[in-house]
Symmetry: C2
C-alpha cells in the first residue's frame, strides 16, 4: 500500500498537527532527518496520493485518508511499545527504536490481536493515548507541570519529550508514569519547581517541568 518512508512522513505530519502548528517542510525535515529538498519531493508524492493537501510554500495538512493512515501507524507504534515494556520488560527509554520498526508491520489482524492480548491498553508507556481499531483517540486533558499551582497534587500522565536520555534521566530521579506529584514551591528566579514524589523532594528545572504532562489528583 504505502512505503516505510511514506508512513514515516505521514506519522510525522500527524504529530506536528497534534502539537498545534501546521506542518512545514523544514519541521518535517528536522524530525525525519532528511533535507528539506527531499521532503518537498515526498510531499508532492503524498499529495498526488491524496494523503495530504499541499500548496507550494504553504505547508501541508493530512486529508481524512492520510489521517486514518497515520493513526494506524501510531496505533501500532504505541501497542508495540506496551508489548515491549509490559511483556518483555524493557524500560521506557529503550522501546522507541524497536517500536519505530515494528510500527511498519502490516497486518490488521495482528495489531488487533496484539491489542486484545495486551488487555486493550488505553495509553502507552509514555502516557500517549492508543487509538482504538476505529482510529478513535481519547485524549485526557492534561496540563504541564510547569503550569501547576502551588500545593497542587497531580498525577504524572505523560511526557512530551520522548528523547531516550530525558526518559532515562526521569527514571534516575525516580519519576515514573502515574506517580503522584505534589508541588511544594515555585521559584521566582528561574521558574524551577520543588516537588515531592514518592516521599522525595526534587527541584525540577523549568525545562524539565514543562515536559511533564499531569492531571489534577
Amino acid at each position: 500500500m504505502s512505503t516505510f518512508s511514506e508512513q514515516n512522513y505521514l506519522k510525522t505530519i500527524f504529530h506536528l498537527e497534534q502539537s498545534g502548528g501546521d506542518a512545514g517542510t523544514t519541521d518535517i525535515a528536522r524530525i525525519i532527518g532528511n533535507k528539506a529538498a527531499s521532503v518537498t519531493e515526498m510531499l508532492k508524492k503524498l499529495s498526488d496520493k491524496k494523503l495530504i493537501t499541499y500548496q507550494k510554500y504553504q505547508g501541508v495538512k493530512l486529508t481524512s485518508k492520510g489521517r486514518t493512515n497515520a493513526i494506524g501507524i501510531v496505533r501500532k507504534h504505541r501497542l508495540w511499545e506496551v508489548f515491549l515494556l509490559q511483556q518483555l520488560g524493557f524500560a521506557w527509554d529503550e522501546v522507541h527504536d524497536m517500536a519505530e520498526q515494528l510500527e511498519h508491520i502490516e497486518s490488521d489482524e495482528l495489531v488487533n490481536r496484539l491489542d486484545k492480548y495486551l488487555g486493550n491498553p488505553k495509553f502507552d508507556p509514555h502516557g500517549d493515548p492508543i487509538p482504538d481499531k476505529n482510529g478513535k483517540i481519547v485524549n485526557h486533558k492534561s496540563l504541564l507541570l510547569s503550569e501547576g499551582t502551588l500545593k497542587g497534587k497531580y498525577i504524572l500522565a505523560g511526557v512530551s519529550n520522548h528523547n531516550n536520555l530525558f526518559l532515562k534521566h526521569l527514571s534516575e530521579l525516580g519519576i515514573r508514569l502515574n506517580d503522584v506529584i505534589t508541588v511544594k514551591s515555585i521559584m521566582d528566579y528561574d521558574k524551577s519547581i520543588a516537588i515531592v514524589i514518592n516521599h522525595k523532594t526534587i527541584i525540577l528545572p523549568h525545562q524539565v517541568a514543562c515536559q511533564l504532562k499531569v492531571i489534577k489528583a
Copy 2:
C-alpha cells in the same frame, strides 16, 4: 547493516543449502520471486560484501559470515512464528507472512528477550528447529512418512512444505504437529498410505506423505 533485500537473499540461499543442493541463480529467482537477472546482480553485491562465494555460472555458497547472518534471520522468523501461534493464537497456516516481516526487525536484545519470554522453544510451529543465540541448530533426524514402514508408529515432527493451502489442508484432515501417526498400509498402485491419527483412518496420497517429517515413536 544489511538491507531487507539482502537478508531475503541470504535466507533463501541458506534454505537451499539446507535442503541439499547448492544454490543456483534460477532457484533463488524462483523462490524470491525476482527475475534471474536481478538475482545475478544481487549475488555480485553479496559477494563483494563477503557474505557468499560466487563464481560466474557456478552457483553460490554462504561464507561463514553469510551463514551467521542468515541463521540470525531464520532464528527471528521462527521465534516470531512461535509468538504468533502460542501467544496470539494464530493458526500455523497464518503466521508465515507476518513472520516474513518480523524477521527483519533489528535488535539482538529484542530477539533474545522474546526467546526467553516464549520459554526458549526448540522448534517452530512447522517443526523447524530454532537456532539458539549462538547460531547453533539442533536438527532432529527425521524421515519422511513416505519412507515409513508398515505398522510403524511415528510422531509428526515437521512439514517440509510451508504453503498455506497445504498447511490448512492438513489442519482440515485433523493432522497437527506432534500427533502420533500409525502406518496401516501402503498401496502398491500409487504409494498412497493409510494411516491412523487421533483414532481416525486417513488415506494420504504419496504427494502429501512425502511432505511429512516424522520420527519413530
